[in-house]
Subunit: 336 residues, 2 copies
């Protein structure tokens, strides 16, 4: 362990520990000689300040806690990377905790972060209630990414998932698809619900009514995409396109279609959501609705930094965009 304290270096440098603290922070003027003595001693003894003691004494820890919905999920990871990037130029460093898609774990991870006296919080996705958030982090500056709260005072960086769901569905509709199956995603997850709403809206706009037999649920994993397609096929549903809750689900769906000898996009078109890294590399390259995940993370970092400086910052909505690749077939000009 690093047993060197400022007392030690104060002794060696022949000054008081206040002075040591001063030169270490560089804010206040200190006589050059003493300053040098301190610096030398610091180096010689290999002194490393104890952040724990610092933050207990100062009340600030110069860290911001990042709680992610799930580390390992491409979308959330990309946001986290954005946060890291956005914080890089500041004096704050991020520490991460993982909610693992489970509210209890999310809560305890959040408590752990708060207990560590982080100066601010970035919550990426997640499912705990605003009540729970308030209870555990009263007063702390907090920014929420990839999630919105109906009536809350939180600053949120979010994307309009309804618009995204609408755009994806609309794309299919515009290409002549009418039997559009949807793999909705986690039925309790706001993102899934909103994307579905967009889907419904797009259909209704054309006077169509959503066919309940064509909607099936998933949990955002590839496996659930397989299950979904299997179910659809087993039930003998007819569909020319599938809108998957996210790209991972689309990957699974794509494989399952293959196993049923359904070609993409020749027999069935497929559209995803997120535009994760791998989506450009599957075969065929996946058409999907892109969420600017990294940017969202950076905005969140900017926001928390602003808040920490006492500046204001209000919620912000980023824009997604359709990324057209090759998994959707145009039926409207069909020939084959």
């Amino acid at each position: 362990m690093n047993k060197v304290t400022i007392d030690d270096i104060a002794k060696v440098a022949g000054v008081s520990k206040s002075t040591v603290s001063r030169v270490l922070h560089g804010k206040v003027a200190v006589h050059p000689d003493k300053k040098n003595a301190v610096l030398t001693a610091t180096r010689r003894l290999g002194f490393k300040p104890n952040i724990v003691a610092q933050s207990l004494a100062s009340g600030r820890s110069m860290t911001i806690g990042v709680l992610t919905q799930n580390m390992g999920s491409p979308f959330y990871d990309a946001i986290a990377q954005g946060v890291i990037a956005g914080l890089a130029s500041s004096n704050y460093s991020p520490i991460f905790a993982d909610g693992q898609w489970q509210i209890p774990k999310e809560l305890s991870a959040l408590q752990s972060l708060v207990g560590r006296r982080v100066d601010g919080l970035v919550l990426i996705g997640g499912g705990i209630s605003s009540q729970q958030i308030d209870d555990t982090c009263d007063g702390l500056p907090i920014v929420i990414v990839a999630r919105t709260f109906a009536e809350s005072h939180y600053r949120c960086i979010s994307m309009d998932n309804i618009a995204g769901g609408y755009a994806a569905t609309r794309h299919l509709l515009d290409r002549g698809h009418r039997k559009i199956a949807i793999v909705r995603g986690l039925p309790t997850h706001a993102d899934a619900i909103e994307r579905y709403q967009g889907y419904v809206r797009a259909l209704e706009e054309l006077g169509m009514v959503p066919d309940p037999r064509l909607v099936v649920e998933s949990d955002f994993s590839p496996e659930s995409g397989i299950t979904a397609v299997n179910e659809l096929v087993k039930r003998g549903e007819r569909f020319s396109a599938i809108f998957a809750a996210n790209d991972l689900t689309a990957f699974g769906a794509r494989l399952a279609l293959d196993q049923h000898r359904l070609r993409v996009p020749d027999d069935v078109s497929l559209i995803g959501f997120d535009d994760q890294l791998e989506s450009a590399y599957i075969t065929p390259p996946l058409t999907t609705y892109r969420q600017p995940a990294r940017e969202m993370g950076q905005y969140a970092a900017d926001a928390i930094l602003k808040l920490l400086q006492g500046e204001e910052f209000s919620s912000l909505q980023v824009h997604g965009e359709l990324v057209i690749r090759h998994s959707v077939r145009d039926l409207s000009t069909a020939s084959v």
Copy 2:
């Protein structure tokens, strides 16, 4: 902020703060009445212990720092998830920091973790020297995953990348491939180097000598896989198979092959390394050498927990395995 301290609850409960501390820890016997009083007060005032103060006073923080080579990389993320899982049943909670593939960032992230007085460290991959590690974490229990050090005292959880590279290459050889290109990975990265050594060994075993024109470098990203294939094709090299440094690179290679109208596996076979989640879902499903990433993370968690309890633990090597899917064509029984 949570301004309630044990002093407050001591006052309310009519006991001393030592007693409060005692009931909160539950190790020492305390009179039931006082215990109740304390518990009640705790609940009523909404007391949350200040972990910072706790760890300053006790010298332990009950957290273990996890430094990852890069969060967002499927392989490293899977390890991190294993660590989380392995720690879940203990009283320790993990906090994460990200090296972002860059040694300076890795170092400062490590310092931040150590400064936070974590009780132990799990290093996932990474490139800092053992010297640097020793300097920054002297004395701390530390476990290293997915990396080994030649002559060090560290406990490492690793996989034999030479064996992996050998197995992958051998698989190709056994299927009749002779012109095997390799996309090596980061030239400075131990994993890449070792896999290449395995590749060389497999070739030499058959009396072949590695053709330098067939080896090209990458940085483990899909983009670099594209670049690699483009280069190979542009140079007009002849090859019937590609061994990619990792799955991500294989994804890029697969796309590039497609763009050059080279079918996988009909025209060119492709083998990856890692077996990341998505690999089963690309077309064709990728044959790859699987690293048991999650397990490695769990072993690491077990190891650090053991070390923390004063038990011993020695380095351990896990076994990878070839996962045969559909991206490699068997030339030996060739007809087509």
